[in-house]
């Protein structure tokens, strides 16, 4: 498959542009919070996790200590560790690629990769989104830091709306059947309930814990439904497309692949 014809690459590039542009907002806010240009760039280059970066400058801008800023940033970054575990199994970067993969393991690259069923597509999606966002996020952080507030509020351009749409679009294909939809609704509600009571970033961890608990307690020897995810960590297929389709059809015929909406309807909603 040609690089630009890959659906995962298309998603990765789209999300890179939408997220990367938002770096303008970080750059501008960071210098107005009292960080200098190099400190701002250090956060985008080395810390590279949007939520953690905004939390760090938010605490500093609000008059908080460096320790408080670091703690908020660390708390928000915990989910990247969970993503790392998933990406290690799904994308399986080897040798020198592994430390690079770790740096670009964020919400968007993880979401792009886990939205794909084919192991090669997962890999393409992960790297396209991860590297694409890294480059554009840093470029636009620099633009924002240099231009300061001359650009105006990026919200004016609807960039925060782009993020909302991107995450919904990544979630959407997974909502086939009652069970995945029910999990999404429960986790969305858990998030909303948690927002007023815990520091920002933590509600996402609450939702992750709720989702993990649902997965743990509804586990069955032969799970049904959730078709794309039945074997997310199956050994990656290599180049040969023929073997891939064969393996797929074999799994189908033995019924291990679950099935789609109809097989999960009703009977295993949590």
């Amino acid at each position: 498959m040609k690089f630009f014809q890959s659906p995962a690459v298309k998603v990765g590039l789209s999300i890179s542009i939408a997220t990367g542009l938002y770096g303008v907002s970080f750059g501008a806010l960071s210098v107005t919070s009292g960080l200098d240009l190099w400190q701002t760039m250090a956060l985008s280059l080395l810390l590279f996790s949007g939520g953690s970066q905004f939390a760090f400058i938010g605490v500093i801008g609000g008059g908080g200590t460096g320790l408080a800023a670091m703690t908020a940033s660390a708390l928000l970054g915990i989910r990247n560790g969970i993503y790392g575990m998933q990406m290690n199994a799904l994308v399986s970067p080897r040798s020198w690629r592994r430390p690079l993969a770790a740096q670009v393991t964020i919400d968007e690259s993880t979401a792009t990769a886990s939205g794909q069923e084919d192991p090669d597509e997962r890999r393409r999606g992960f790297w396209t989104a991860g590297v694409g966002i890294f480059l554009l996020w840093n470029l636009f952080t620099l633009v924002g830091a240099l231009a300061g507030n001359a650009l105006g509020d990026p919200k004016q351009w609807g960039l925060d709306g782009a993020a909302v749409a991107a995450f919904l679009a990544l979630l959407w294909p997974r909502l086939k059947g009652k069970e995945p939809a029910a999990i999404a609704v429960v986790c969305a509600l858990a998030t909303l309930l948690a927002v007023p009571f815990v520091p920002s970033g933590v509600p996402i961890l609450v939702a992750a814990a709720v989702a993990a608990a649902i997965g743990w307690f509804t586990h069955k020897p032969v799970p049904a439904g959730m078709a794309p995810d039945i074997e997310p960590y199956a050994e990656p297929y290599t180049e040969h497309d023929g073997a891939h389709t064969l393996a797929e059809s074999e799994r189908r015929s033995t019924g291990q692949d679950g099935g789609t909406a109809d097989s999960s309807d009703g009977k295993d909603a949590p």
């Binding site: 298309k10 789209s14 400190q39 250090a42 080395l46 810390l47 590279f48 953690s52 760090f56 460096g66 800023a69 940033s73 660390a74 970054g77 989910r79 990247n80 560790g81 790392g84 575990m85 990406m87 290690n88 199994a89 993969a101 740096q103 393991t105 919400d107 979401a111 919200k155 351009w157 609807g158 709306g161 782009a162 993020a163 909302v164 749409a165 995450f167 919904l168 679009a169 979630l171 997974r174 909502l175 995945p180 986790c187 909303l192 927002v195 009571f197 815990v198 520091p199 920002s200 996402i204 939702a207 992750a208 989702a211 993990a212 997965g215 743990w216 586990h219 039945i230 997310p232 960590y233």
Partner: protein
Amino acid sequence: MSLWIWILLACAISYLTKLAGYLVPAKWMKNQRMSRIAATMTIGLLASLTVVNTFSTGQQLVFDARLGALLAAAVALLLRAPFLVVVIAGAAAAALLRLAGWG
């Protein structure tokens, strides 16, 4: 100068957190129960990221132009629009609502 120390510490923690995930043996993730949890967790995280980005500003829940972005994206998805079109629909809805003076 001391701010630099906290910045570099925050960067180190961030990277080590990410790397720690990769040091968990992939084998541990390769059984049916972990696969099931990975599947439910992906749905849970995406649902959570969607609502956090739509409704939260810090620790406050707010209804603003981002709600319009969510609805516009949902309509685009129902019409089976490609990913980029969905993202543009979300951005355009938020931008237009703000232009009209809401949120």
